[in-house]
Amino acid sequence: MGASFQAELIKTGRRPVTWLLLAVWVILGLTFGYLLPYMSYRNGSGMAAEVPREQQLAELLPASLTTVGVSGLPMFGGAIALVLGALATGGEYGFGTWKTVLVQRPGRIAVYAGKCLAMALVTLMQVLGFFAVGAVASAVIAELEAASGAWPSAGELVTAIAAGWLLAGMWCGIGMFLGVWLRNTALAVGLGLVWTLVVENLLRILSGGLGVLETISDWLPGTNAGSVAAALGVIPITEPGGTPGVVAAVTGAQATGTVAGYLLLSGIVAIVILRRRDVN
């Protein structure tokens, strides 16, 4: 597995689209996590206009780094992670490289496990990258506004980073599964994004009052990812100034368990498919 991991690191690290997606994520996170909210705060307008100014500023300061850091992951950050995962596995079909890789030496499980480890590292970079940039942005805002520059405790930071990594990992794992299942990058990315950004949100909206649909919705990956973020203090979309994709549908513990379950399940199903299926 170590050999597969090292091989994956070369492939992933030298792939321009990996860095492009990570850069897009950081830019999106900065824009929606700091830049636009700060402009809204300064101008007293925008979507968060109904939120008290003190609260608006508080959410931009270093003390809120933990909540801002995970706020984008249930939706946009998750979509980026899903695309990264779909590229990692679907790309092997597109390039016709499975046949070359699988005749080298490691078995299929070892190859997939190496891929998982490499993508775990990439998603950790995704989360840490945004936390690092967010830390700088929040410190600058605190300086500009002469506000408190107090940081969250180390424990809070570690918890938030771990939660963010879990969310990104789940979406990436689902993307990897889709890539294997559909043997295609474009289809995996397309279906994954439609599900993440559209279908789940529609289901949540339509489930109001419909018991069965609500129960189903409570077990979906997006709902649980949003609930993890909500449990960490991110304001749900249902409240003023709330974050898209964040809902407080289930408890933090249940949501964390469900997200971890999706991560595990996507890996197991992908391995089963990969092992059983012919490489043509």
């Binding site: 050999a3 070369i10 492939k11 792939r15 005749v103």
Partner: protein, 316 residues
């Protein structure tokens, strides 16, 4: 025929042992009861028209495709077993490599998977003459260079068994000649090469033994000479009855026939002088005597019922 090659063929050691190899997709038997025994050290040609089942058979041997029926051992192990794959290098249906990586980085990736030292990367690049372009992206390579890099990837493990599936596919004549030279070089010494091709000249030129497959079935197997069978002598002589009588006395009646007023003698080409001397001594005027040998192409089209044979008006 080009340079002399030294091979150490072990008739009693088989690196590939496949019996009753069968692959079924739905109702279609893509590979149907193929027996394949490849001896250590030989260059074995796996010949068949497009869609004959060559690639599927090779994919089964490599563990990429599960077999439906039959038994297979490659270097003594089940197909796809990492213990067997250590000694196998393969290029299956074109080089599957990463277009955004350089040639060298592609080989570094595969070397990591294979667990071979990184110095091997430069060795195989040298072997396939790609050192100068190793830093360029794979996507910028010509088809011939891509094929050569695919061969380099197959050689990383310095494999005992090298499986090459249509390595000359899509190459121009110069590229094909270069690939043949490379394969001939790779097939020296102890290494076994299993070469799948529909290029008859390639197989005829390079391979020690040949298996002909069509519609999933192995139709014939043997050395190129065995498959071609005995040669023939064609004799125009006068008077014909007297010539036939003399030829039957020299070679035996079962080896002599007359087709369109021409004597056809089934015998080895080196006996032409003996036949000629006997005819002249018997006062027969010989106006033409020439050796007629079946080519592998003749054998191939006979066996496959003309599959892949060009239609009238097409160039072969």
């Amino acid at each position: 025929m080009g340079e002399q090659v030294m091979r150490n063929i072990h008739d009693d050691v088989h690196v590939v042992q496949a019996r009753g190899l069968t692959k079924v997709y739905g109702a279609r038997r893509v590979v149907d009861g193929v027996d394949l025994m490849v001896r250590a050290g030989e260059v074995y040609g796996f010949l068949g028209p497009n869609g004959a089942g060559k690639t599927t058979t090779l994919r089964i041997l490599l563990g990429l495709v599960r077999l439906s029926e039959g038994t297979v051992r490659v270097l003594g192990h089940r197909p796809g077993d990492p213990r067997g794959l250590i000694g196998v290098g393969a290029l299956v249906e074109g080089p599957g490599l990463y277009p955004y990586l350089s040639g060298r980085d592609n080989l570094r990736v595969m070397a990591r998977y294979a667990g071979v030292p990184m110095r091997r990367v430069d060795e195989v690049l040298e072997l396939v003459n790609l050192t100068d372009r190793a830093a360029d992206r794979f996507a910028t390579y010509s088809l011939g260079m891509k094929q050569r890099l695919g061969v380099a990837a197959a050689l990383l493990k310095d494999p005992k068994l090298l499986i090459l599936d249509e390595p000359s596919n899509g190459l121009d004549p110069a590229g094909m000649a270069e690939m043949r030279r490379l394969i001939r070089r790779l097939g020296t010494g102890e290494r076994t090469v299993l070469l799948s091709s529909h290029q008859l000249a390639e197989v005829e030129e390079i391979c020690d033994r040949v298996g002909v497959i069509s519609q999933g079935r192995m139709l014939a197997e043997g050395t190129v000479a065995e498959l071609r069978g005995e040669g023939q002598l064609m004799v125009r002589a006068d008077p014909l009855p007297r010539a036939r009588e003399v030829a039957e006395r020299v070679l035996g009646p079962q080896r002599v026939s007359v087709v369109d007023g021409v004597l056809r003698l089934r015998t080895a080409p080196h006996r032409a002088a003996v036949v000629n001397r006997a005819l002249v001594a018997a006062d027969v005027a010989v106006s033409e005597l020439r050796v007629v040998e079946r080519t592998l192409e003749d054998v191939f089209f006979e066996l496959t019922g003309g599959a892949g044979q060009p239609r009238v008006g097409e160039e072969r």
